[in-house]
């Protein structure tokens, strides 16, 4: 079962690695790239904790093999804030609106919502619910997450609302 050489651009940096074909993209990111922000919950496509952007599209990193990402660009949660550490609008809205408690699901939500708002810049509440349906959270009861997405879509953070 020979290993395979791959080249992947992860959060802007080109990497070369040799991987076993059965290594998932999620395990590759966590174990080879030390990017442990991509979380693993179910490892069979249901929970969304492992969501990353693959050539700009939100996908389950547990359902892609690293060999299939050869030649692709991957953005993980570590690549979402600006280099100086300033949170992205989606991240800031999650913080401001209590869109997280334990934080386990948060990287997956932030990646999904980032792609969703790029493709639906002016979503209805119904579209937001639909767009969030592929990510599970065991803590928040979702209301804070809904508010965060609404605020991110409207370009308002809690600071602006109260200030």
């Amino acid at each position: 079962m020979p290993d395979v050489d791959i080249q992947v651009r992860v959060n802007g940096t080109l990497r070369r690695d040799t991987v076993p074909p059965r290594l998932t993209l999620a395990d590759y990111l966590r174990e080879r790239c030390q990017l442990t922000g991509t979380h693993l919950g179910c490892e069979h496509g249901v929970c969304g904790a492992c969501t990353v952007l693959l050539d700009g599209q939100a996908v389950r990193a547990c359902l892609v093999f690293a060999v299939q990402a050869d030649g692709a660009q991957v953005t993980t949660i570590e690549g979402i804030a600006s280099p100086d550490g300033e949170l992205s609008p989606v991240q800031a809205a999650f913080r401001d609106h209590h869109g997280l408690q334990c934080g386990f699901c948060t990287p997956g939500f932030v990646i999904s919502v980032t792609a969703f708002l790029r493709d639906h810049p002016d979503p209805t509440d119904e579209q937001i619910r639909e767009g969030l349906s592929g990510n599970l959270c065991r803590c928040t009861g979702y209301q804070g997450i809904l508010k965060a997405v609404r605020a991110a879509a409207d370009g308002t953070s809690a600071m602006e609302e109260t200030g």
Binding site: M1, P2, V4, P20, P21, R22, L23, T24, D27, E43, H44, G45, G48, T51, Q57, A58, V59, R60, C62, L63, V64, F65, V67, Q68, S112, A115, F116, R129, E130, G131, S133, G134
Partner: protein
């Protein structure tokens, strides 16, 4: 690493892919979007020695009009189909089925070829293919052939494809004239596989008679099903003579092996099945009548 170990192949043409599959034998499998195959590998419900990735194979993506049909390459993703104006115009039933598949992250990878080849009894696309009379195009080292949808689904997760045969495209014939289309399903949570569902296409003549209809059922047997007896009974009937409830009852009448599992008993599924058929029928007839 959860799946068992395998070798990886990334051929660039259909000819190369099918000759690899033929040479490697039954321990080789193609992978398209991986949205069904990778979970099965991760859960070790399946194991293989060789994975033949179709992502670099040329000529398997795209949507085109050809010979009165909308022809869709097997590797075209569900997301691309969902966004296609050509599909929305030419195959509205397929367009309406697409958002019911999983979530947008799944549809970004999942392909129409994978959905049909995987042949899950509860999946939407196979039922749409049955209702519309789609033609499935396949290629193996022995050549090409076309398989009508109602001869494609042969058993539990089973299809008419040989181990070394690839689905290359699906052609959906255009239904013209006064037509209506609807898909209805019941699932416990948005994005889950349906407990039961129905895809309905109906064409009316200039009066109020049913010229032709197609009813695809999902979640209601070991395979995706076509309610052929109900279709035959309805064809040439006057609209005024059939109620949606009758259609629901008739479509479910001769089903023999309705599944029973933790998501629902066979009796419950039958009940849900009759309701979703009736709802889809009503909406499709309404659309055709307004056309």
């Amino acid at each position: 690493m959860k799946p068992s170990a395998f070798d990886y192949h990334a051929p660039t043409s259909v000819a190369e892919a099918v000759s690899l599959l033929a040479d490697l034998g039954e321990d080789a499998k193609p992978i398209a979007g991986g949205q069904s195959l990778v979970p099965m590998l991760a859960l070790r419900l399946t194991a293989l020695e060789h994975l033949v990735d179709l992502r670099r194979v040329s000529g398997l993506r795209g949507i085109e009009q050809r010979d009165g049909a909308v022809r869709i390459g097997a590797m075209t993703t569900q997301a691309v189909i969902g966004r296609s104006a050509e599909v929305a115009r030419g195959v509205p039933l397929l367009a309406r089925a697409t958002p019911l598949i999983g979530h947008f992250q799944i549809r970004n990878r999942g392909t129409i070829g994978g959905s049909l080849a995987h042949a899950d009894a509860a999946a939407e696309y196979p039922a749409v293919a049955l209702a519309l009379g789609a033609q499935l195009e396949a290629q193996s080292p022995r050549g090409r052939r076309t398989i009508p949808a109602d001869r494609f689904f042969t058993g539990l997760w089973g299809t008419d494809l040989a181990d070394d045969e690839l689905l290359t495209a699906v052609a959906f014939p255009r239904w013209d004239g006064r037509c209506g289309f609807a898909i209805e399903e019941f699932a416990r949570r948005s994005g889950d596989f349906a407990i039961a569902g129905a895809a309905v296409a109906v064409a009316l003549d200039d009066g109020a008679r049913i010229r032709r209809c197609g009813i695809g059922l999902f979640g209601l047997g070991p395979t995706p099903l076509r309610a052929s007896a109900a279709e035959a009974a309805l064809t040439r009937a006057g609209l005024a003579d059939v109620t949606a409830e009758d259609v629901g009852r008739t479509a479910l009448a001769d089903l023999e092996s309705v599944p029973s599992d933790l998501h629902g008993s066979a009796d419950y599924r039958r009940h849900v099945g009759a309701v979703v058929v009736a709802r889809a029928w009503q909406r499709a007839v309404q659309e055709a009548s307004d056309a």
